[in-house]
Symmetry: C2
Subunit: 352 residues, 2 copies
Amino acid sequence: MSKYWSDLTASLVPYVPGEQPKGQQYIKLNTNESPYPPSPKVLEAIHVATNADLRLYPDPTCDKLRETIAQYYGLTKDRVFVGNGSDEILAFAFPAFFSADKTILFPDVTYTFYPVYAKLYGLRFNTVPTDEEFRINEELYLVPNGGIILPNPNAPTARFMLVEQLSRILQANRDQVVIVDEAYIDFGGDSVVPFVKEYPNLLVVQTLSKSRSLAGLRVGMAMGHPDLIEGLNRIKNSFNSYTLDRLAMAGAIASIEDQAYFEETNRKVVATRERISEALKPLGFHVIESKANFLFITHPRKDAQQIFNELKNRGILVRYFNKPRIDQFLRVSIGTDEEMDRFIAELAMIIG
Amino acid sequence: MSKYWSDLTASLVPYVPGEQPKGQQYIKLNTNESPYPPSPKVLEAIHVATNADLRLYPDPTCDKLRETIAQYYGLTKDRVFVGNGSDEILAFAFPAFFSADKTILFPDVTYTFYPVYAKLYGLRFNTVPTDEEFRINEELYLVPNGGIILPNPNAPTARFMLVEQLSRILQANRDQVVIVDEAYIDFGGDSVVPFVKEYPNLLVVQTLSKSRSLAGLRVGMAMGHPDLIEGLNRIKNSFNSYTLDRLAMAGAIASIEDQAYFEETNRKVVATRERISEALKPLGFHVIESKANFLFITHPRKDAQQIFNELKNRGILVRYFNKPRIDQFLRVSIGTDEEMDRFIAELAMIIG
């Protein structure tokens, strides 16, 4: 506490990101990064952009990147917004579309940044129960509310919803904004981006951090009705006009354009995920069905935090959340086949 | 307007950044960028960092960059904060230290983003009059208030305050935060960074965009008491944990470390500024004394907006603000000697 802090600052409970180890080498399965490098074309595009023009401000409206994304999705540029990671876009979307006098909804087990944003902006929220297997029941979102945010697939549970379920929620909530956070959509789920033209209340948020191997570059994107994009721009331009630097834009454009590399790396991640899901079962693990680049697992006889610690001692970092309902689960990012074989081998020894 | 916008979104009057021309080539003297490229060591450091590690999140606490800055200023790392441009740091500082129930102070003619931040966070502000020559009178800041932000040198006026003036304001306002925005301090003004250890209420904000030729990389920094740095971190970590990408951090570290290049380019900018200040006087311009990388000028007989338009037609972009008190002034960034000679030549023809 400091007498110089505002009441807001004093009241916050900030988000805690996953550990980024310094020095010691780990097999890093704790922050859902891709085990594969970015496309060589991305690195080449950044090399080219690393020139004297860095003295100049970047394009504040990010036109070329937005055009590239628009073309990729068959949309017009006025339906696309980009930001410094999808977290920044969410941080703009909460105050852009949600108001303190109405209650927003999100699942009880979900991305832990959502309640942090709500607190930052003084927004009320209700958490909607998922079932004992963390499934989201769309019926529970057909009640009066001031906006909804749904991650699909959900994190850390890996649970995904069908587009039919989301479509029902979108139809029933035409007077408020429904944000679908698709950070993990490229690993086998069906995106609702095709619904953007149909539902003016839909904002789809995606990121280049996971499926495009660019967590270190900080680029996210959002697709929605031009009114929603303008709403995001009004907040952004009251906060920071130049959120994306020249190198991030150059790399992001090259990434979106390299469809073949994107498909190939994601195919590998999905294949490894399926193989490891099966390999965990003989060890006695219960594995939630996943369409993300991570698995959410629990063991009926071995304490999750204990497994987490033993894995760490053996040089493998996974993510453990000491929170109600999920404190017996581990979230395990999908690494390379070699990393995951080592993970399974160590786990077999820990389970005994 | 859209029914999906929050009341806040609908009420905002966002900041409008200076024009970033696409296509047509201009001599660009409108956004206070450096006319010189970044240090070759910066470009080299970015090339080296452009590798497979971009798949990994950056260090969320930016330790290495903060250590580099701390060392540069003879401070400890816990007195340094970094952000995605100094604008982002200011956007965090307003809610971190200012509260809606108290009135903050800043000059009546200043960076137009300050009232935008205040509006975004629902903060009350009083603008403190500058004199007819835009000088800031420190006496007027010795009144009850909920916090102060002072740019030094001021923009767009180029007016600078002496450290003695700022020291008096800091002493008289020990119970609230005084932010000194030093975006332009490296062009001849005296920084208050040495006061950071003495005044726990002082936050100094700087940027790599101007004096380090890195507007396109988006890096800003703030120095202050550890409590103030923690306050900024609480807001940041409720907003976006990873605001600086790996390339921006690598480039920024190399920039801070290359003191010789920094001094050499700034020396050139200052020399050109002094020469052009003198060259404007025979044309009849009144030039406000500047310690920034721009000049604020007015002509007794020729309308400023008309000069702006005629310069633009001749391929030279400067900045014109259609606002009370300054609508007969132009803000002119300092370019290369060659660019400024062309500017003077065209201006001579326009004035006739």
